[in-house]
Symmetry: C2
DNA sequence: GCACGCCCGGTAAGCGCTTTCCCGATTACG
DNA sequence: CGTAATCGGGAAAGCGCTTACCGGGCGTGC
């Protein structure tokens, strides 16, 4: 691996000069030298060692993003938004997948700290786990204390900037729609109960139920993984426990798609016999069979906003900013009134 | 930011000892000292500076992955596989999105080289661009010359290990299926013509056509972006040029989904009036409306294999390994025989 | 009881780069 | 023409860590 010293030697200059030329330092340098150095760089295929640079310059530049799983379209969209603004600012982003393992989340903030990340962005639901939340918060505070910026998406329990989707209101929208259509037997395909996203959305659903003089019994809610397979499994369980269901509210689109798949497999017509509503409006929601009625969250935009917050200069008053983002209902083919007999 | 020196001072030992304890060096250390150091680490919330470590140790550990776009399910799946094996090996992976910009691809290999990546994995189609291919290859060779490992997925034009999907054979499978069903007017929704994936798949399609005594005219192939929107646009163009089409072969699933959307919008029944076949078998292919007949590629597995190749110890004979991966046809609801009148 | 070796810990030399400080040579100015 | 200001370039001090290498205190064997 060619080093700066090699380049300097070959060009017959000092490393200092070579460095200045390569990095376009403000210090003026003669054109003759510049050319020699540039030529040497080319010949040697020299690329500066980023670690050495980082160490010598001693200021952070990369930004870290911790998500549950980028291959999940929900996070993929958020990440897309994040990346866009990061690129605009010339920042490298390091993506870390926790696969929903809280411990891994902790490890990654250390890793990002170790890598001198300028900011850490935490995307995705928080956990109902006092101990964990406390530990994570402590780590984040230490990071902030040393000048790191932190922004979270979809969590409210931490220090730092936050972009918060209207999970409760969205859940309420779903409930209002379904009960408004006349459904009285609504099942919920929920995500893991230790995720705050699950409980927030559920809370909205419950509020809507109350407003319509209804309530969710224990058997009407099934918890499973926030994924396609989880949605299918939960739907199966729901159907077994409550055969007379006329509507299913899935707490995210992946689960809704799993629900749709299971329903199709069992020959149950959607929305003829059972309506299905999702949450998030992932890009494919419009293309599944039938097209999914869901709650739209501006995913990419949320990512972009979080990155913008995280990148902005040390805020004047040191006050973390909170941005709330709205949820809207998108009606598509998967929902309708309950079957007339029901 | 606390440094190793701070920790050492606080524990009353030399930095050397602190380093040895923190990194679990083979050198034996008394328990008393060990505890003091560990306590100091805890109190100071010390995290070693990864850049300094990398510089001092002087051996590569992270691995870089260059993809067109992780938020595209195709790459998301590949990445998932990659990550899995990287994690098993305790490697950090740096994901780089080129958004299909060749220049960005070049920049990223430099960046990865600068960051002392132990390996670079290039996923996604190559480009039909002599100049570019040559430049990239040169850069990769330089990287290899300094001990870097290289693996590519879905390209054949470069040095290094390779995992190559059967694009041509898959295209042939699509053609055989469609012509076998009796279609005679088949349109192709193709990706960008400068991508090798496009031409490879197309070649298979053409071979199948020849075998059935047919051929693709210029107006039967429309090139667009390898994305949903591109698929919709290309389908619209195709329909305008060739209203009597009975089948559409899309060169990837995203485009197929776009085609499906457009067809639905125009009230054209699939597969009653027009059959649609995709390529890749992304996870959602089974859930769209109607479920997509497509060519299955073991995406996650391909990623895993590439990572395995990239991580294996400097090969005995220094010979790059090539792994071919098979394509199989998955019949679902979107394809069938042409309408009887046609 | 003394030499030898073994342990455990510290000292210091880098890793590859940036940047401050300094110095000799121009140039500008009085 | 002397001096000061200016300009281009180099020497060297780190950035935070790892890891030879070294050295003092033991325990052993004779």
């Amino acid at each position: 691996m060619a080093t700066l010293a090699d380049v300097a030697r070959r060009a017959g200059v000092s490393p200092a000069t070579a460095s200045r030329i390569i990095n376009g330092s403000p210090k003026p340098v003669t054109d003759a030298l510049r050319e020699r150095v540039l030529a040497a760089v080319e010949e040697l295929q020299y690329v500066p060692n980023a670690h050495a640079q980082q160490l010598a310059r001693n200021h952070r530049s990369a930004v870290g993003v911790i998500v549950h799983d980028v291959s999940d379209p929900y996070f993929a969209e958020i990440t897309r938004g994040l990346q866009r603004v990061a690129t605009e600012h010339g920042r490298l982003v390091i993506i870390c997948n926790t696969y929903r393992d809280p411990d891994r989340e902790l490890e990654y903030v250390e890793l990002l700290r170790a890598n001198q990340a300028a900011a850490i962005i935490l995307a995705g639901s928080g956990y109902h786990d006092e101990q964990f939340t406390h530990t994570l918060d402590a780590k984040l505070r230490v990071y902030q204390a040393t000048g790191g910026h932190v922004a979270v998406i979809g969590r409210h329990e931490h220090t730092g900037h936050a972009v918060i989707p209207a999970n409760e209101a969205g859940g309420h929208l779903v409930g209002a729609e379904l009960f408004g259509l006349g459904h009285t037997r609504v099942g919920v395909v929920a995500g893991p109960r230790h995720l705050t996203t699950t409980t927030d959305r559920l809370a909205g659903l419950r509020r809507a139920a109350r407003e319509h003089g209804q309530k969710f019994g224990a058997r009407q809610i099934v918890y499973a993984d926030f994924e396609r397979a989880g949605g299918a499994a939960a739907t199966a369980a729901l159907l077994d426990a409550q055969p007379q269901l006329t509507a299913i509210a899935a707490l995210n689109d992946s689960m809704a798609i799993g629900a749709l798949a299971l329903l199709r497999e069992r020959g149950i017509d959607v929305p003829g016999q059972i309506s299905v509503v999702g949450f998030d409006d992932m890009p494919i929601a419009a293309d599944v069979m039938p097209a999914l009625t869901t709650i739209r969250l501006p995913l990419a935009d949320m990512g972009a906003r979080a990155m913008t917050l995280a990148l902005q200069p040390p805020e004047p008053l040191n006050t973390p900013q909170i941005e709330h983002v709205e949820a809207v209902l998108v009606r598509r083919g998967s929902s309708g009134p309950p079957p007339s007999g029901a």
